[in-house]
């Protein structure tokens, strides 16, 4: 049999009728029904007192609490990330003393409850009523009373940040060791110093592994900050507690607080998505779709096949 290699034979296009998925439509119908039932129950139950929730949702003390919660989260995560990078690099240091100091830190701060650490920093004045700036065993230049420097807010940030540093250290370390050894060798063979190799070559590529769990930690931190209500920092939860201790609308104010926590974690989730996308540069041939692109694709293909529409994923950077 002779095959014509010069010109490919004309091929007939496949025009098949797509497989129908009736099961999907049944599932959708059941879920919509359940959704309406739950929604109806929530809307029609007068004990929810939606008017009160609406009233307090944007009240000044709650909004101030939201701001404090955001401040606590940002400050604690900033300390945590900076400390985490430092501890991770220390842990991978060839100097055994430096590496063990990092290990002990992680052991100590990861091994005790964060609530205990919050109370500890809040009560630090019992151990050190005053502290000064100066040379150890030498002269001191300035004195401060601990009570005035360690306000409840500072105690909260310290406790959350130092605790977070221990977790971030492990996340960063995992990221660093995920970067292939060859990258370090190539950088060294070009004459880059250890520090430059870490900063320019290893850490940027480690980010792809570091960012998702860090987003997770940030979301977790947004909620963990509520623990500082025990030392009377007026964060979101404490603001709600103060109000319901006067008007006894406990559930309503907890719903108010929950709604705000949801808003904050949602914003953090979206932010994480775009940071991840940024660091995916070079890691895969095509960048992942944005949620909008994915939504558009799913809308078009729902009920038919799930194959990706190629044109929707063609965007670069």
């Amino acid at each position: 049999m002779a095959t014509d290699t010069a010109e490919p034979a004309a091929s007939e296009e496949i025009k098949a009728i797509p497989v129908r998925h009736p099961g999907r439509w049944v599932a959708v119908a059941v879920l919509i029904f359940l959704g309406i039932a739950v929604g109806n129950s929530i809307a029609s139950n007068p004990r929810f007192q939606w008017g009160i929730i609406r009233h307090f949702l944007f009240s000044a003390p709650i909004l101030r609490g939201v701001v404090v919660t955001i401040e606590l989260t940002l400050a604690a995560m900033a300390i945590g990330i900076a400390l985490g990078v430092l501890l991770a690099v220390m842990r991978l240091s060839p100097n055994p003393v430096v590496a063990s100091v990092s290990w002990v830190y992680i052991w100590l701060f990861r091994g005790t409850p964060v609530l205990v650490q919050i109370l500890f920093w809040y009560n630090i004045a019992a151990l050190y009523p005053r502290f000064g700036l100066g040379i150890p065993f030498g002269p001191t230049f300035a004195h401060l009373t601990t009570g005035s420097a360690i306000t409840p807010f500072v105690a909260g940030v310290l406790a959350l940040g130092l605790n977070e540093g221990a977790y971030m250290a492990e996340i960063v370390r995992a990221g660093i060791i995920s970067v292939p050894e060859g990258q370090t060798q190539a950088a060294q063979s070009l004459g880059m110093t250890r520090l430059m190799t870490m900063r320019r070559i290893v850490l940027p590529q480690a980010m792809r592994v570091i960012v998702p769990p860090t987003g997770n930690e940030t979301i977790s931190m947004l909620k963990t900050t509520s623990l500082v209500s025990v030392i009377a920092v007026t964060d979101l939860l404490y603001a709600a507690e103060v109000i319901y201790s006067r008007n006894y609308r406990v559930i309503q104010l907890l719903i108010v607080a929950s709604l705000w926590y949801l808003v904050l974690t949602t914003v953090a989730t979206v932010g994480q998505y775009y940071v991840e996308r940024h660091y995916a540069r070079g890691a895969s041939r095509e960048l992942p779709e944005t949620p909008l692109q994915r939504l558009r694709r799913n809308l078009f293909t729902f009920g038919h096949s799930t194959e990706a529409v190629p044109e929707a994923s063609g965007e670069r950077r």
Binding site: G182, A186, G191, T193, Q205
Partner: protein, 255 residues
């Protein structure tokens, strides 16, 4: 007379109990192209990595361009070099790896300008002009803005060669540069290397199994086995009449 570009005297290196290099002595003159062949595990790559101090030697002496690698000698005392000095010496030696090792988060162009800008402190604009010339020379003028994951193996290796050349090295080390490539991509990398050897008169030390390249471009071939150089000669010598039994076996297996 200028000192040899590389000079090794009874170099030894052990990993734990395994002695990988058992007294390697050789010389590479400036402008020379030397190929090193030998079975895997014979210590070729280790020796190459010793030349730019990615591995520390345990005994013997190793010089590049007249200077001890990793140490400096005052009288009869030998001092270990500080990190900055090791880095400066490395920046004058280009290295190309079997696995390319391009920086994955940077485009081809960014890979090439990285070391000139950050190690040599050349103004970025100047480095870009130079990098474009180099990438054009390796035939990749149209691939400047692609990330390594978007390039074929042969293209990645050619970017890696351009990256090493960007530091204007006095010596180029190649560690099995074509071993990880699909057969049809080997040629394009070897062409770039031949160009370096013939046009640019670059001093090259190449660990390779490409006997065709050795025959065409090498001034000398060294055969390594079990941490020792067992035979040395012109490429013709190796093709026509290798003297050692071990060399004959090895060449019969790879040709």
């Amino acid at each position: 007379m200028s000192p040899p570009m590389v000079k090794a005297e009874a170099v030894r290196k052990r990993f734990g109990r395994l002695e990988v290099l058992q007294g390697v002595s050789l010389e590479v003159e400036p402008g020379e192209v030397v190929c090193m062949i030998g079975p895997s595990g014979s210590g070729k790559s280790t020796f190459l990595r010793c030349i730019n101090h990615l591995e520390k030697i345990d005994a013997g002496r190793l010089w590049v361009d007249g200077d001890l690698v990793g140490y400096h000698q005052v009288g009869d005392k030998i001092y270990e070099q500080r990190d900055a000095e090791v880095c400066r010496d490395r920046s004058e030696i280009g290295m190309v790896f079997q696995g390319f090792n391009l920086f994955g988060h940077m485009t081809a162009l960014e890979n090439v300008i990285e070391a000139p800008v950050h190690v040599k402190k050349i103004p970025k604009r100047e480095a870009i002009v130079q990098a474009r010339v180099l990438l054009e020379r390796v035939g990749l003028a149209h691939r400047l803005d692609n990330y390594p994951s978007q390039l074929s193996g042969g293209e990645q290796q050619r970017v890696a060669i351009a990256r090493a050349l960007a530091m204007n090295p006095k010596l180029m080390l190649f560690d099995e540069p074509t071993s990880a490539l699909d057969p049809e991509l080997v040629g394009e990398v070897l062409d770039v290397m031949k160009n370096l050897a013939f046009e640019m008169k670059t001093t090259m030390f190449v660990v390779t199994h490409e006997m065709g390249f050795a025959r065409e471009a090498a001034d000398r071939v060294l055969m390594m086995d079990d941490g020792r150089i067992i035979e040395e000669g012109t490429p013709e010598h190796f093709f026509d009449a290798p003297s050692e039994e071990r060399t004959k076996q090895f060449l019969a297996a790879i040709l």
